[in-house]
Structures are given as C-alpha cells and as structure tokens.
C-alpha cells in the first residue's frame, strides 16, 4: 500500500517538474528580453552614475561625485520642490476628477455612449499635440485663445503660464483634461462590477444616493483607487514633456521638474553620468514612496 503510494507521489512529482520546465521555457524569452532591455540597462545606469565619462564611454570610477554635483547644482532644489508641488496639485486636481466622472458615468441613463466617448476623447490625441494646443490657449497677451474668449466677456487678458504661481496648477489642469477620461473608464468598469443586489438592498433600507455612494461604491473602489493613486504619483513624479514644451521649465525655474533636469543633463549637456545619477535617485525615491504607501494602506484595509 505504502509502496504504491510513494510510487504515485514520485510520478506526480516528476510530472510536476516536467510541467514546471515547460512553464519556465515559456517565460524564458520574456526573462531574456527583460534582462536585456530592463535589468541590464538598470544596472548599467547605476554603474554609469558612479563613473566619469567621455560621451557615453566611462573613464574612471569617481564614487559619489556625480551625486554630490547634482546636490550642488543650482537647479536641483527648484526641480525637487517643483516635482512635489506637481504631485500635490495632481492629487488635489487630478485624483478625484476621474472618480467623480466614473460615478457620474455609471449613473448616467441617457446618451451614456456619447458621454463616455466625450470624456475619453482627449486621451486619443497625441500628447505633444495636446500640450501644444493648450500652449496656444494659454498664450498671454491678446492673441491667446483663452484671452480672446475672456475679452468677449469683458475680462482683462491674463498672463496664464507666465505667472510663476499659476504655472504648475495650469500644467496639471492640462494633464487632467487629457488623462482623466481613461482613468474614469477604469473606475466605471469597477463600479459596474459591484453586485447590484447591494444597491437594491440599500435602497430598500432607505439609503439615499450619497449614502449608497459612500457605503457601497467607495469601499468597493478603495483598493483600485489605492493602486491608481500610486500609479499617479509615480507617473507625475516623472513629468517631463508637458513643462518642457509649455514653459521649458520657466519662468525662472517655476516649473522645472526632476525629469527635465535629467533631460537637460543628458540631452543638453551630454553629461550622461549625472543624468544616470539623478535617475538612480528618482528610482530610489519612488521605491520608498511606493513602499510606505503600501504599508500605510494595508493597515487601513483590514
């Protein structure tokens, strides 16, 4: 009896290994691709950040010199501060809009397809085109589109992006206009997936719309919201082309972001080690941010 059992087990085990091998083999091409295109460059840029270089050819090991140079760079403090301001504004303006739109879309009865398309539409425009279009809208002086519109209702032309304290919120507004639609659709899909019986029961118990949203919808999309929040912070931390095109980081560094500093090091100054060093720092910050956030929300959820 025991013998046969053991035999069976061995057969099972070997067959399990066999199926494992097939699995690994299927993954292997992706692993190799990852190794070549993600891990190797990652390690390479850490290495590069510790060397001095001529163009892209490393010359000698300089330890943390490049990092020190970055901390000493006059634009670094502004870029770091701005990046966090971008994140704060993106949470204030950009985080709740898609949730609101998502809830609204689910509740819409008539013309649902039309609204869904309308909200998603800005997303299918190429990013650079969107940014340049908003650039025309925000032009100061009498030739900017928004100023022309304001003039019609008798309001003085505004300076928009060239007012340093408006620059970042306006850029975030542009990004929200473009990006909110796709996020709203994700929320909508999630909300549509909530068991309708919950709502039915709540309605029978006499819960108002607000209460239903608060006690059924919100808890159901909480974990999705958490994921999207992290993704948003990570994305906004790497904001680059919007300020690059709309303001080139100005006026007087009011909108320069860390990624633009990386861009400047790499593509304006051809200083690749410094670009690599700053990228490594960004990577570390993001790892820490994501880690802390997961820890905090994990406790809340249960």
């Amino acid at each position: 009896m025991d013998e046969t059992r053991e035999k069976k087990m061995t057969i099972k085990r070997t067959s399990k290994y066999k199926s494992d091998i097939a699995g690994w083999l299927i993954i292997l091409p992706s692993i190799i691709l990852f190794a070549f295109f993600v891990w190797e460059p990652l390690i390479e840029s850490i290495r590069l950040s510790l060397y001095s270089a001529k163009g892209m050819q490393t010359i000698e090991f300089v330890g943390f010199d490049n990092y020190a140079k970055i901390f000493n760079h006059p634009d670094f403090a502004a870029a770091l501060r701005n990046t966090f301001i971008y994140i704060v504004w993106s949470l204030v303006i950009g985080f709740f809009v898609p949730i609101f739109l998502g809830v609204l879309l689910t509740e819409t009865v008539h013309l649902k397809g039309f609204f869904r398309f309308g909200i998603y539409f800005p997303n299918i425009m190429p990013g650079i085109a969107t940014v340049m279009m908003w650039g025309y809208f925000f032009r100061p002086g009498p030739t900017g589109v928004l100023n022309i519109l304001l003039e019609k209702i008798g309001i003085e032309p505004q300076v928009w992006l060239t007012n340093p304290s408006w620059t970042i919120p306006l850029i975030i507004l542009t990004m929200t206009w473009k990006g909110a639609g796709s996020t709203a659709l994700i929320y909508m899909a999630n909300i549509s997936g909530i068991n309708p019986e919950l709502y039915e029961a709540a309605t029978i118990d006499g819960a108002s719309i607000l209460k239903r949203v608060r006690h059924i919808t919100m808890p159901s999309i909480f974990s999705l919201g958490k994921t999207l929040l992290i993704l948003q912070v990570i994305a906004v931390f790497q904001i680059l082309y919007e300020p690059l095109i709309m303001t080139n980081g100005g006026p007087n560094n009011a909108s320069i972001s860390i990624m633009q500093l990386v861009y400047n090091y790499a593509f304006r100054d051809f200083n690749y080690p410094m670009a690599a060093a700053l990228s490594v720092m960004i990577c570390l910050v993001l790892v820490v941010l994501s880690g802390t956030y997961f820890k905090i929300t994990k406790e809340k959820e249960y």
Binding site: L25, P29, N72, G135, P140, T162, T247, P251
Partner: protein, 484 residues
C-alpha cells in the same frame, strides 16, 4: 502537447538570439572596416584608388528642392574629379537629442553642421575627428580666422572648420519702420543708435502699428546669449579670468544690473515686447521678424535667409544694422562661427573627400575655378529664393579667397547695400568684435535666461537680488566644472 510547447519555446529562443546576433553583426563589421582603412592609411599611397563613401550630412532637407538641385550640380563636378568617391546624401539636422546615439552607434555622416554653441561640448565628448594634420597638409590652418579657430580647438588641436562666421547686429523689418514713418527720404530706416533710443523707437512702432517693437528671447540659452551682448554695451564683463587661470563670475556688477533693469523696463515701462518672451527662441524670433509681428530682432549676417526665405519677408524689406550702444557709447558685436565637423569614425580619405566637396561648394579657403563657380551657383540660388546676397563674415582670411568672394557678392548683389553698410562699417572698427564670455558660457546663459524670465514676468522683480543669485549659481558651476 508538451513537446509542441517545448518546441515552440525553442523556436522563440532561437529567433530571439538570432535577432540579437544580427543586431551586433554590422557593428563588428564596421569596426573591421575602419581598422582596415586605418591600415591602408598607414601604408599610404594606393588609398586614392580605393572606393570611398562620403556621407554628406550637409545635404539640404527634402523640402528645399532648389538647394538639392544646387547640390546635385556640386556632386556632378565633384565626381568628375573624384570618380572613386561615392557621395551619399545623408541629410542630418543637428539636434542634441539625436546626436549622441548616432555618434556612439557609428552612424554619423562624414561631415555635418552643428550649432555655434556645440563645438567644445562635442570635442570634450570625443564625438568628432581631430583634423589638425589634414588641415596642415592642405595649408588651411593659417587661413582660418584665428578668433573662430579658437572656438573649434582644444589643447592646440582643431576639430572643425567654420561654415560661416557671424557677428550679432540688429535686424529690422523695414515694412514696419515704413508703416511707423521711421524712414528717411531714401527709404532707409532711421534705426536706434543707443539702447535708450531703441526703447523709444520700439514704442513708436508699437504705438503706430500695434506690433511688438523688439523680439526679446527668454525661452532658452539664446536669451542669455543675446543679453550678454546688451550687458557689454552697458559696460559689464560677466566672467573674469584671474592670473591663475581661474574664472570668477561677475554677473552682479552694477553695469550688468543696469542692463537687466533696462530689459525689465522694455516690458514694464515701454511695453514693447512680444506677448510671451518666455516662449521665444532663436527660431521664433525670426518668425516674428519675418511675419511682421516684431520690428527688431538681435541677429547675425549668417541668418538673413531666416526672415526672408523661411518666413516670407520680401528680400528688400530686411535691414541689418549695428547693435545699439550703451549709455557710455560702448558698442560691441558678439561674434563667433558655426562649424562643419566630422564624424570621429570617418577615415582620413573620407574627411579629405568632404573637404574637397567643400572646395567645390566655395566654402573652403581656395579660390579655384570650381570654387568660384560654386559660390556663383549658391548666390544665384539665393537670388531665386529671395535671400539677400551680402558679404560673408570673413571666417577664412586668405586674400585670394576674400577677393574672389567680394567679386562674386558684388556681381550677384540683390539688395540695397544702404540697408547693410552701417553694420559692416561697425564690425570693421577696432575692438568692436567680441567673442562670447569665457569660463562656461552655456551655464552663464542658462543663469541669465532665468533672470530674464523673472524680470519680464514679475513687475516687482528685485533685479539686484536676482543677479546676485545668478552670480552665486554661476560661480558654483564654474567651481565644480571648470576651476579645478
């Protein structure tokens, strides 16, 4: 089933690996070719008979059909003399975000144009070929205008040759001057002689036409570049070099602050700038000037095609005058040169071929029949495209070339030289031409541009404090990067 799976994985793997292999192959081959050529180069003599490929990055872009025809003519002449050279058009518009990958992958064209800002950066990065010996053999070394050759050299070796020299002046849109009634009986604009006059002239034009008086740049480093010339007129020197060779920032001198206060007044007192200077760069400046949304713009003789051919200003409505003088009558023109440079991977034969091609274009320090024919064809092409034919800034200084150039320019002249004479007179004056600031000019420009952005977006900007901050920042950059 499992077997099929494993088989499929195998196929995937093989295709993946073979894909990688292919990618690497040409690279190794390239290396081999270069090595071979260097070997033949060392052996010397029979190299001429070998096939040489000349990749011309200076080929015109597709839309400029007339220019392409012009170059096709050059190629014909060139191949008659060099049947062994295959000319490959490889239009490359220099851009900082494409350059390094092209250079590192060995795909740079043999010869390409770059910007006036780039030579030192490209030399330091090891992206361009040292052509000192080749130029010496040809006897071209002494023909280069010494002030320009400094910009293209490092440690006594030279890495490029000048395409054009430039000296900044003030470009005028004559149509707007006419509209504002600011022309004399001959139709020559009454242009401002001092910076204060410039502000007043700009105001008069803005009042009369509604268009900006002057286009000021504040988007990128070009803003600081222009500003350094304004600051000189106010008596400032922005970087000083001590006897020990170390550089000291001098951005917050009272002269420099006065110059910045002046720029600030252009916005808040006179209000004569374009709507958003923080979005104006070198190119948009010419758009404003050419399309008549700004009457004046700081620009140089090598860019007269920009307002005219590119942006549609009639050829006789452009004028180039000297930059205004400062309060004490000081007047300078920032000068430099735009370079031709050569790929670090180019062989000696390829570079020689490129230089021969430049001879035929009339862009080299030789006045052969072919070269003169090349200049003539170039000028005829300019006339056809509505570009003013005006004297070049002497980037080569050998007499025979200068004489030939003058003869050709006079022959093909298509504009009233009254619109340009004062400019050429001014830059001939002793001490008028001034090379860009020493130290780390691009860092200086970046800092100045930030101040420019601040003073034209904030009416209450504290200029001395901003200049002091810029001075500290620039000093920091000098200390970390240059003063070692």
């Amino acid at each position: 089933m499992k077997k099929i799976c494993i088989l499929m994985c195998f196929v995937l793997m093989i295709s993946l690996l073979s894909g990688c292999g292919k990618k690497e192959e040409p690279a190794t081959n390239d290396g081999a070719v270069t090595e071979e050529n260097t070997n033949t180069e060392a052996e010397g003599t029979d190299a001429a008979a070998e096939k040489v490929t000349l990749k011309l990055g200076i080929w015109p872009e597709d839309t400029l059909t007339d220019d392409i025809k012009l170059h096709e003519g050059y190629v014909k002449t060139f191949n008659a003399a060099h049947p062994n050279v295959e000319v490959v058009p490889a239009y490359y518009k220099y851009a900082t975000d494409t350059f390094v990958s092209l250079a590192e992958s060995g795909n740079l064209p043999t010869i390409f144009e770059s910007w006036y800002t780039e030579p030192q950066k490209l030399i330091n990065g090891g992206f361009v070929a040292d052509i000192t010996d080749i130029l010496e053999e040809r006897g071209w070394l002494d023909a280069i205008n010494p002030s320009i050759s400094d910009l293209l050299s490092k440690d006594g070796r030279i890495y490029g040759i000048p395409r054009d020299g430039y000296a900044l002046g003030l470009m005028l849109n004559v149509e707007l001057f006419e509209e504002a009634g600011l022309v004399d009986d001959n139709g020559v604009p009454k242009y401002p002689k001092t910076w204060t006059e410039l502000a007043e002239t700009a105001k008069a034009i803005k009042d009369a036409t509604g268009q900006a008086g002057i286009c000021l740049l504040a988007k990128d480093n070009a803003g600081g570049w222009h500003f350094s010339n304004i600051a000189w007129a106010f008596g400032a020197t922005l970087t000083e070099q001590g006897t020990d060779g170390k550089f000291t920032a001098n951005v917050d001198s009272k002269e420099a602050i006065a110059a910045m206060e002046y720029v600030k007044s252009l916005k808040w007192e006179y209000d004569v700038l374009t709507p958003d200077p923080t979005n104006e760069d070198w190119g948009t400046g010419f758009v404003n000037l050419g399309t008549g949304t700004a009457a004046m713009y700081i620009a140089a003789n090598d860019a007269v095609n920009q307002p005219t051919q590119v942006n549609g200003l009639p050829v006789d409505k452009l004028s180039l005058v000297p930059l205004p003088a400062g309060p004490d009558g000081q007047q300078y023109s920032l000068s430099g040169g735009t370079p031709y440079m050569f790929s670090k991977d180019a062989t000696k034969e390829e570079i020689e071929a490129a230089l021969d091609y430049l001879e035929i274009m009339g862009k080299a320090p030789v006045a052969t029949e072919d070269a003169i024919a090349g200049m003539k064809a170039d000028n005829q092409n300019k006339i056809n495209n509505g570009v003013p034919v005006i004297p070049r800034f002497p980037c080569w200084i050998n007499e025979d070339l200068l004489a030939a150039e003058k003869a050709v320019t006079d022959e093909f002249n298509n504009v009233d030289m009254k619109l340009y004479n004062d400019y050429y007179e001014a830059i001939k004056k002793e001490g008028n031409l001034r090379l860009e600031e020493v130290g780390s000019a691009q860092d200086l420009y970046a800092e100045l541009t930030k101040v420019l952005q601040a003073v034209i977006t904030d009416k209450n900007a504290n200029v001395p404090a901003l200049m002091k901050q810029a001075d500290e920042n620039y000093q920091k950059l000098l200390d970390t990067n240059v003063n070692k």
